[in-house]
């Protein structure tokens, strides 16, 4: 199900979706073969190319990837928030109900009530011209016609208390600009948990925040999950944040999941070179000795007219000719752990030692798009001495 243009709506039998979630009974959110294409002047950008995941109740699924990997577009597609020009295929089911193609009016009953979303930037996700209290009660009253303004306000104060905003009964009458970034994100979380959603999708909820504030917000997210009993899709680029909160991890690259599994599997036994590369390129706060980092050479591919084969191939140290033939499917490598790599077997036992396959290089000489730099080998010294003089 991974070669050629993906136009089928139903996944092939035995595909990743079924392999990862044999038990769909307690599935809250099922995303199957989700594809998103945007028409642009340069051609069609295939931003999401076949995402499958199942979110079960009470779990935290982290979607990890770098800029442009399609992780945010995936969640916007799930929430029905993409512009009309986007071409979305596949299936998104919330408690068995298909969300794709649903009329906006019916979708609005699920959005905020069944599935709530927290965006990255608390500066822009609140409306600057309305008081905080109005924005919370708006969410509450949209899903409950019988709720009085007074009751909504009381519930608003209760929610602000829950997310740790001091003097909630005064601050509810303030405007977003009177709050700091961390406080605004608390308000956004209060709004997201207002209607006791089953699913909270948090898109980079702490990226815009300082690290001490990030710790506070992660704590608040924990509270939100405990209070509402919601499951969470946590979208982030930060592998540190994921380690602490996720149950399962989905790693995305060039619009596709390339590895998925329990958080320990992903961190201690990665089976896709990209994941291993990501781990090896992070400086560690807890490093006992100085270890050289292992960057991943090159840049992610353009999502317009992608060549066949593994999209990570051009950057992969394990690349062989066979990698360019077809895009490897996401297949089970053991214990509910899925990886999309034809050489994943060779990574068994590599553990977290990225330096075994990645170069600790300091060179970065391939231009975006590749072609121009490939035919000329620059005399830039050995891999570990890019800065020779």
């Amino acid at each position: 199900m991974t070669t050629g243009p993906m136009t089928t709506l139903s996944p092939a039998p035995g595909s990743a979706a079924t392999a990862s979630s044999p038990n769909t009974k307690d599935a809250l959110l099922e995303v199957t073969d989700l594809n998103v294409r945007f028409p642009t002047e340069d051609g069609i950008v295939h931003a999401v190319r076949g995402v499958n995941y199942t979110l079960r109740s009470g779990e935290v699924l982290a979607v990890v990837g770098e800029s442009g990997s399609g992780k945010s577009v995936t969640s916007l597609a799930v929430m029905g928030l993409l512009p009309a020009s986007a071409d979305i295929t596949g299936s998104v089911r919330y408690r068995g109900t298909e969300l794709l193609g649903m009329k906006d009016k019916s979708f609005s009953r699920i959005r905020g009530k069944g599935v709530a979303m927290i965006f990255q930037d608390p500066m822009t996700s609140l409306d600057p011209v309305y008081k905080i209290g109005f924005q919370i009660s708006e969410t509450l009253r949209a899903h409950d016609d019988s709720m009085s303004k007074k009751a909504a306000r009381d519930r608003g104060i209760e929610l602000l208390n829950l997310v740790g905003i001091p003097n909630a009964s005064d601050r509810i009458d303030q405007y977003p600009h009177e709050f700091s970034g961390g406080m605004r994100q608390r308000v956004v979380i209060a709004i997201a948990m207002a209607n006791q959603p089953d699913v909270i999708i948090a898109d980079e909820p702490t990226t815009a925040l300082d690290v001490t504030v990030q710790a506070q917000i992660l704590e608040v997210l924990n509270t939100a999950m405990a209070e509402t009993g919601a499951a969470m899709v946590l979208i982030t680029h930060d592998l540190g944040v994921v380690a602490g909160v996720a149950d399962r991890v989905l790693v995305m690259y060039a619009g596709r999941p390339v590895e998925m599994g329990h958080v320990d599997e992903i961190y201690y036994r990665p089976r896709m070179p990209y994941t291993l590369g990501l781990l090896g390129s992070m400086p560690r706060l807890d490093a006992t000795e100085h270890q050289r980092l292992t960057p991943i050479k090159g840049s992610p591919p353009s999502l317009v007219n992608m060549p066949p084969g593994c999209p990570f191939g051009p950057r992969c140290p394990l690349h062989i000719d066979a990698c360019d033939e077809i895009e490897p499917p996401l297949i089970e490598v053991g214990g509910g752990h899925l990886a999309a790599c034809i050489r994943s077997e060779e990574l068994r036992g590599t553990g977290t030692h990225a330096e075994k396959i990645f170069d600790a290089t300091a060179i970065d000489d391939v231009l975006i798009g590749g072609a121009a730099g490939d035919d000329t080998v620059a005399e830039v010294g050995s891999s570990s001495g890019g800065a020779q003089v």
Binding site: G240, A243, I363
Partner: protein
Amino acid sequence: MTILERDTSSKAAPTGEPILKVTGMEKLFPIRGGGLIRRVVGHVRAVDGIDLEVHPGKVLGLVGESGCGKSTTGRAILNLQPATAGSVLFRGREIVGLSRSEMRPLRRDIQIVFQDPYASLNPRLPVFDIVAEPLIIHNLVKGDAALRTRVKDLVQMVGLNPEHTNRYPADFSGGQRQRIGIARALALEPAMLILDEPVSALDVSIQAGVINLLEDLQDQLGLSYLFIAHDLSVVRHISDRIAVMYLGKIIELADRDTLFARPMHPYTQALLSAIPIPDPERERRRERIILTGDIPSPANPPSGCRFRTRCFKFRDELTEDQQRKCIDLEPPLAQQEPGHTSACHYSAVRTVL
């Protein structure tokens, strides 16, 4: 032989003196009233009296959260935003108070790399012109051929392909643009670089390559760095010594291993404990110190210790008498053990990693 001979030799010159010595530096920004005359009604105390030393061939990391004054410190050292008070000695020469033209010869020796590689390169100049510009301005290279060789060397030195110098910044990835910025900073063979969040705009897989490059350059050219960043993991990776800033002040300063193993200031402890480690088992075991509240306004910092409004020690562990001292008396940055200073009346080691 090499294009950076001058610096390697200056590194070899034995000297116990710091290459950069900052003493009591302050940078205040006036707050003006809204009236017609726009009188000054107060000051944002962005940098409020700090002392720093960077030694030749060493890396001093300067960390802190947004608004703590770390970037302003970097700019004030370079006189890009002149310091309001204090002294900045670079190789024994006072920088504070120098005019632009007096600064120019010094800029050969101390250069800056900015955070945003998309904003710090002129999009309409090919890379060759960007890297050649400082060489032309300072009139360092005679003749076209020499200039071409020199730019090619520089571009190669930062790990880029020298055949790409006729291209524009838009053709390069963020990491590569940052390398162009580094090549430009190195063009004048500086002895010292101020690196202002040089990797924080980059994705992690790209960031690692730039960090490796900065390490290599520092080793091979004997450069001194002032490495300003908010990411303690990155700072730990590259620094010899680390200064932690909070609200315009340095609150703790120690060599890298000491700071991480034996943090003494409550803020450093909270900062270290807040940083997630990409290791699920460790993360599940870790106890986080969660600070309450937000960073106070630098226009109106709290009396006494600036951190006391968010300090867990102040809140949970101190008696009322002890708290009184925090409120009334600003703790000096005092030596707690050899080479380790901390600005807390109740400095004590607490392991948080």
